[in-house]
Amino acid sequence: MSENVTLTINGISVTVPSDATIIEAAFKAGVRIPTLCYLKDLNAIGACRICLVEVAGARGFQAACVAPVADGMVVNTNTPALRNSRKGTLELILSNHRSDCLSCPKNTECELQSLCYEYDVDMYKYGNTDPEPDIDDSAVHLIRDNSKCILCRRCTAACEKNQHVSVIGLSQRGYDTHIGSAFEMPLSETSCVHCGQCIVVCPTGALTERDDTDKVWAALDDPTKHVVIAPAPSVRAQLGECFGMPIGTNVEGKLAAALRRLGFDNVFDVDTAADLTILEEGTELLHRVKEGGPFPLITSCSPGWIKFCEYYFPEFVPNLSSCKSPQQMFGALTKSYFAEKIEKDPKDIFVVSVMPCTAKKFEITRDHQSANGVPDIDVSITTRELASMIKRAGIMFDKLEDEKFDDVFGIASGAGHIFGATGGVMEAALRTVVEIVTEQKPESLEFTDVRGVEAIKEAEYDLNGLVVKVAVTSGLENAYKLLNMIKNGEKEYHFVEIMACPGGCVNGGGQPTQSGFVRSTIDLRAERAKALYNEDIGMELRTSHENPTIKELYETYLEEPGSHRAHELLHTEYMTREIYK
């Protein structure tokens, strides 16, 4: 345990642990020190020189994100010299930053832009010296423009420390320093898993998702297409942030209404397919229990995790659930079951998914994801892209009356909703599996052991003598640690849930932009997940197998979980990949 120390920041006395940094103490004291590179628990390297502060008795300014606190320290963050220094640093950053703000995808959400505004910066202090665009658009999910990069290194930290992928790093030095892959390989040739965690931490427009909204507009304008859209569980918990609503606001009703106003012929819910995933995956788990393995069964909803497994743990590929993700199950059924219902050729149905995720843009291109001879999903857009469509269409989102999703795939259980948070798939599965095995409802439907944001969560359940050991993790660095423990025999489980992004989909690579300050002062993962758990607890229908839509689907079309038809439509295959080609 570290001792506490007391220091003064701008005259405010604050007590913090002795191993804290000045910026942590300042945030606690209610003083915002501006920064462009700092991210709590991820990136504290003093690179951007914006967080400089004055410490009484110290020589020169100190970088608050790396300078440790001391007892009796007197810190000032807002002096004429500091304001002048920050302004000068910002003007230097702008001197080789391509400032096409008006057409930049990050316009109004850019941390550099808002700081320049705060500090009354002269954009052309050194003349109009914008560099030429320096673009890597090789990857299916993102665009990198190094002419907007300020070398804060948040992206490389997220890639390395949170995700254990490290496909981007800092190359060259001095004026030539840039973010890139080894041997300047395009990102598409590296072992990038498309998680998009680099995008959500980027303070500028250097990293943005590939914008696929034009394809959606084109489909909506095409009278020959029956255009269907469905959002993932976590989208309703985050979309409100794009319209100024507090973090953790559930906007499910407004979301359905907005999608209808955009002109989609049907507005469905991927959560229904999440319930279906539970039935298929639960059946797969029980089958493996009967057959004696292979254990652990590992969830397959997160395409970033799947690709990571194929690259870094090929020996665990047989452990992956053969179930498609809810997105793909939804698409496959829309182009078969639903197509038959409305008597349309699957080729004339255009399916759009709204995802918290950039890896979904990759998933739709995978092999074995075209059940009915056409791609299950035509376009996958992120929460951010949907927000931009809603804005462009002139829809006053906050004024919308709540509406419901359309009937065929419109009803979902609370179990389906919580898919969007780490532990949610596990909890949803347990609710169903426990009831199937014990033939009675569990005492409580809340499996709280698997909730929360700890790195690795474990639990053990005794189902009438059948002991089921489970583990849940999120963030690929945590997955790397967990899988190595399983590999060397330290741990044994029957069922493991892995999501690529830290905290699960609520913190996905396609979720609304939040500044480094918000990310450093609020646990986004927990706050956003609350919206999903609050929705679940208020519901009558909380288990997947009780969902009437799912029951009808099996009775009239799929026969039973794991049936031949279910396998054809709802299951897929994986491959192994080499990290370095």
Binding site: D134, I135, D136, N146, T156, E160, S166, V167, I168, G169, L170, S171, Q172, R173, H178, G180, S181, A182, F183, E184, P186, I579, Y580
Partner: protein, 162 residues
Amino acid sequence: MKTIQTVPFTGTKEQEQQLLAWLDDHADEDGIALQSLQMTQQIYGYIPKEAMITIATVTGIPLSELYGITTFYSQFRLFPIGEYKISVCLGTACYVKGTQAVLDKLISTLGVEEGETTPDGKFSLETCRCIGACGLAPVITINDDVYGRLTANEVERILANY
């Protein structure tokens, strides 16, 4: 986006064994990234991509990090020295006499950037600071041959000698 072209790899089994043996002895030590790159350059004369992948695979150090270190320090070469090493003097006298135009012409004629080697391994292009022949400025050397009072127009004719 900047791209770099690599020279076809001609490393031998013996060289690979030597690198693997060294890695085997040192893989558990802290901070071996820099040392392993120095050892690679000692073995191969430069840092081939193939050898860097070997280091990454054996040690778990990401390829992007090894590349970052290699490109940070000027002691490391990503290209073997060509059969003919062209050195363009960018010292003060040569520079004011217009050596930049000669360098630009060499870059466009050879199709490689400064520090790189042509894919056929014939020419490597480097710059240096003053070789003490300021009276002949602007100057380039190709191995031991010295060419002075150059203009960009003469570049192609000179290269044709090799």
